[in-house]
């Protein structure tokens, strides 16, 4: 069963269309990363996903329940971390845990406290007085404590230094290892997300331009560098180029139709073929045209 189903989601603000007929699914046990530039519609999508906003058309289903209509019931099995954690600044971590516990069917208060201890986060300091990294850990802890079947994380590492970022991902991975939670996250940290996500979606101008396993994505994208003119240039179209740039006396193309078993352009002395990171693929697809 899919824990998240988005069907034909359309969101409009006045005359501007923020999301246009977006559809995708996140299966049980999957880790889905939604990528996109700022303003591509990620926040609107996350809000519709959590039942905070009503779409103009389409719907979002969380664990089989419609997010807008059955929000409270659906969220009993969902852990949420908002962009820039927003717990009430006056509450301490312990008060937050005590407040949230009766709302869910299960609550692992001991695990929550243990996690805080592990990171040296004091339980009796007001949320607003914690550092950014500490706040991110508390928010993640609050999301993990109800032992949810689904985690929705909206840019969980935004504004965190590398140490804090790594700590957040470690906690997430630990939870994945322990309980096989399904995860939906958005992020600008493509490098960090690359290893964890199994599937990626790329949102551009309100449309989902890509929805694919990362493994297959990396298998078919290559950067091909060659001299202009010549055999490589002639066969370029077969490879479905996505971005082509001239670098002095060479041409560099990011192609999306590479097949390792049947390379259209055999590598040699004059042709360089290299694989791409997720970030490089993303840039090629949605970056500014050069």
């Amino acid at each position: 069963m899919s824990l998240i189903q988005v069907e034909g989601l359309t969101v409009r603000y006045g005359r501007r269309t923020a999301l246009d007929g977006v559809s995708f699914e996140v299966p049980d046990g999957g880790v889905y990363a939604l990528l996109g530039r700022n303003g591509a519609g990620k926040s609107s999508l996350v809000r519709c996903l959590l039942g905070e906003q009503r779409p103009a058309a389409g719907r979002t289903m969380l664990l089989g329940r419609e997010a807008w209509r059955e929000r409270a019931r659906a969220l009993t099995e969902v852990g949420v971390v908002h962009e820039s954690p927003d717990a009430p600044p006056a509450m301490t971590a312990r008060q937050l845990s005590r407040f949230c516990a009766p709302l869910y069917p299960r609550w692992d208060g001991d695990g929550f406290s243990a996690r805080l201890r592990r990171f040296g986060i004091p339980e009796n300091v007001a949320f607003g007085k914690l550092s950014r990294g500490q706040r991110a850990q508390v928010a993640l802890g609050l999301a993990l404590a109800p032992e949810p079947r689904l985690l929705v994380l909206d840019d969980p590492t935004l504004g965190l230094d590398p140490v804090a970022r790594r700590a957040v991902f470690e906690e997430l991975i630990g939870d994945l290892a322990d309980r096989g939670t399904t995860v939906f996250l958005t992020s600008h940290d493509l490098g960090g997300v690359e290893g964890i996500a199994g599937r990626a979606g790329i949102l551009q101008d309100g449309r989902l331009v890509l929805d694919e396993e990362i493994e297959t994505l990396k298998r078919r994208f290559r950067r091909v560098s060659f001299a202009p003119g010549g055999e490589a240039a002639a066969r370029l179209a077969e490879l479905v180029p996505v971005a082509v740039a001239s670098r002095g006396w060479r041409v560099e193309a990011v192609v999306s139709g590479w097949d390792d078993d049947h390379p259209a352009v055999p590598p040699g002395a004059t042709v360089e073929v290299s694989a791409l990171t997720l970030e490089e693929i993303f840039l090629a697809l949605v970056g500014d045209p050069q």
Binding site: E52, R54, A74, V80, H82, D86, F99, C100, L103, Y104
Partner: protein
């Protein structure tokens, strides 16, 4: 439910410092009496007053402050997302925050009052104010939340809000003004409470809709809030307007008990005034035709107006009514009672203040009035002012205007001086105004070195009975000659007949008798009427031979069903029973000064009004009111 309780607990715990502060503030009134200050207040009074004042201020500020921030601040600063990302139902978020604010506000008020209550402070608070405060706190809370959302959203919907507020406020103001002017003040008070209750419901519902459907979107929330709020308040306003329209569509059958009834001297019309059912003390005045059942409600006369009934002409075909306009001006309305329907028209005559005396000529065409010191005579048919002049001398409550024919007006004034150091004098002056010549002719001036008293006038303005209070002496005065002769009687004069005879009321123990006294002091008649209290209704026209009275046996009569009415023949001394019930009673002989003559006898009993035939005593029911519970008279 668990979510709601968890949130409510949190809301209160977060602001527990407020309660601590309130507890501290509650100690201030306790220690206040120990500080030097103005004397004259007992410690208990000081504590009570200070605690109440402090509580009132604190509660108002808290209601405003908490109401405008518990939800709206979190919403506008993007902090509500935390709650909406948890399994918390939208209604629980709204309810817990609002209820939390309410408990904090009310609790703070209670904490401020508690020490003073325990220390024995005096708290004199009427139910009205206590009820208003209890209702006002939640109203303040939900309204300040609504206003806070409207302002924080910075959207154009605010213009709609302001416009709707102006419209609804204006409509309600006007309708309440109309109610107030027509004398239905209780309805305005009830309406005020009704508005407050509706506002509470409307603003609460609007806030709920805003949170449940607007969620974390401030602009959308504002739109939903405004639509809900103004739709509900608009409905309430329409309901109020419908109610006001219903109030004024009152008919005589809607009256619950008769306050007073007076038939015209002739014809089928009577004036009646009574409270109307379900209209909160609204007491309209009607012209009612006992033969045809047609009626006309007369417009407001304002407050403090002496004459509560129209002035009828002698033939009962015309009447005059003063309508109170906005700016304390009175408009004279002429009522035409000659046709099957009563018709009302303006005469073009206005008074800038309430006239102290008013008299309609017997043919109904002329109106004389004393307004302050100014005497005016108007022709109601043409609207012309026939005379206007300042009257010399002082004015007093015992004035009387009387038309002696179409061209002559008698002005009778009874004034007493009551200043220290000046010998007390009771002065009665009679002046005649020759209308066509616009000339004032002094007729007589009687000065009595007495304190003060009351006068009864004869119908044609020739004689007066003077009754001095302290000595309880009676004198019969001839107003044309200015001579006064003492009357030897220990009884109360009731009326003066045209020929100078005096109608007396004798009290012998619990017996009541009616008697006639001649100018020579000789009694010509005594008739006992069964009963221990007596009220006189008037003469049965024509002439002054038949008198209607009502008596009761009870010390404290409940209502008109405890009275019995009689017809007394002053020629023969015989009396005849009319029936159980009360006849139209003047009760208070002034300012008429003389008993009127009616051509029909109206008997009221319970919620029914009867027309009694003087010849055979046959009762015809002319009006049935909504039967009231027994009220005290």
């Amino acid at each position: 439910m668990r979510a709601f309780l968890a949130l409510l607990r949190r809301e209160i715990a977060e602001r527990r410092l407020l309660l601590a502060g309130a507890a501290l503030a509650g100690l201030v009134p306790l220690v206040l009496p120990w500080f030097p200050g103005p004397a004259g207040l007992s410690p208990a009074d000081l504590r009570g007053g200070a605690a109440l004042g402090l509580a009132a201020v604190a509660v108002s500020l808290l209601a405003l402050g908490l109401g405008s921030t518990v939800l709206a601040a979190d919403l506008s600063e993007g902090r509500l997302g935390f709650y909406f990302a948890r399994p918390l139902p939208g209604w629980a978020i709204w309810a817990a925050k609002m209820l939390g604010a309410l408990l904090l506000t009310a609790g703070s008020g209670a904490l401020i009052l508690l020490p003073s209550v325990l220390a024995g402070g005096t708290f004199e608070v009427s139910v009205f104010w206590a009820g208003s405060a209890l209702l006002g706190i939640p109203v303040l809370l939900v309204v300040s939340h609504a206003v806070s959302v409207m302002i924080r959203s910075r959207s154009l919907w605010l213009a709609l809000d302001v416009g709707a507020l102006g419209l609804i406020g204006g409509v309600l103001w006007v309708s309440c003004r109309v109610l107030w002017r027509e004398g239905a003040q209780m309805l305005v008070v009830w309406s005020g409470f009704g508005f407050a209750a509706c506002l509470l419901v409307a603003a609460a519902a609007a806030g709920l809709v805003q949170v449940v459907r607007g969620r974390t979107d401030l602009r959308r929330g504002h739109r939903l809030l405004s639509l809900t709020l103004w739709a509900l308040l608009g409905g309430m306003t329409l309901g109020h307007l419908a109610f006001v329209a219903w109030v004024f569509r009152v008919a005589p059958t809607d009256l619950i008990s008769l306050l007073s009834v007076e038939p015209a001297p002739a014809g089928g019309w009577i004036a009646l005034q009574a409270p109307a059912r379900w209209r909160g003390g609204y007491t309209p005045v009607f012209l009612f035709n006992v033969d045809s059942g047609r009626f006309l409600r007369l417009p407001t006369q304002g407050e403090g107006y002496w004459w509560s009934f129209p002035d009828f002409s002698a033939d009962g075909r015309r009447a005059v009514w003063l309508e109170r306009l906005e700016s304390r001006t009175y408009r004279v309305l002429a009522l035409d009672l000659s046709g099957p329907e009563a018709e009302m028209r303006g005469t073009g005559v206005y008074f800038s203040e309430s006239p102290s005396s008013l008299e309609l000529s017997p043919d109904g065409r002329r109106l004389a009035a004393l307004t302050g010191n100014r005497l005016t005579v108007d022709d109601l048919v043409t609207g012309r002012l026939l005379y206007s002049g300042e009257m010399p001398g002082e004015r007093g409550p015992g004035e009387r205007l009387l038309f002696l024919g179409p061209h002559r007006l008698r002005l009778f004034a009874s004034v007493w001086t009551d200043e220290p150091g000046v010998p007390n004098v009771w002065r009665l002056t009679t002046l005649d105004l020759e209308i066509p010549q616009r000339r004032l002719v002094p007729v007589s001036r009687i000065e009595l070195p007495r304190q003060s008293g009351i006068c009864l006038l004869s119908p044609e303005g020739r004689w007066a009975v003077l009754h001095e209070w302290s000595s309880r002496d009676f004198q019969l005065a001839d107003l044309e000659s200015g001579q006064a002769i003492p009357l030897r009687t220990s009884s109360d004069p009731l009326a003066l007949l045209a020929d100078g005879r005096v109608l007396l009321l004798h009290r012998e123990g619990r017996r009541r008798l009616v008697g006639l006294l001649g100018p020579d002091g000789a009694e010509t008649l005594r008739v006992q009427i069964p009963g221990s209290r007596l009220q006189v209704g008037g003469f049965v026209a024509p002439g002054q031979d038949l008198l209607v009275v009502s008596t009761t046996d009870r010390e404290t009569p409940g209502d008109d069903r405890d009275w019995t009415s009689w017809l007394v023949d002053l020629r023969t001394g015989s009396r005849r029973l009319i029936g159980r019930g009360m006849v139209q009673a003047t009760g208070f002989p002034f300012p008429r000064g003389s008993l009127p003559a009616f051509h029909r006898i109206l008997l009221r009993r319970g919620g029914e009004l009867f027309d009694a035939d003087p010849t055979n005593g046959h009762l015809r029911r002319v009006l049935t009111l909504k039967s009231p519970a027994r009220t005290t008279d």
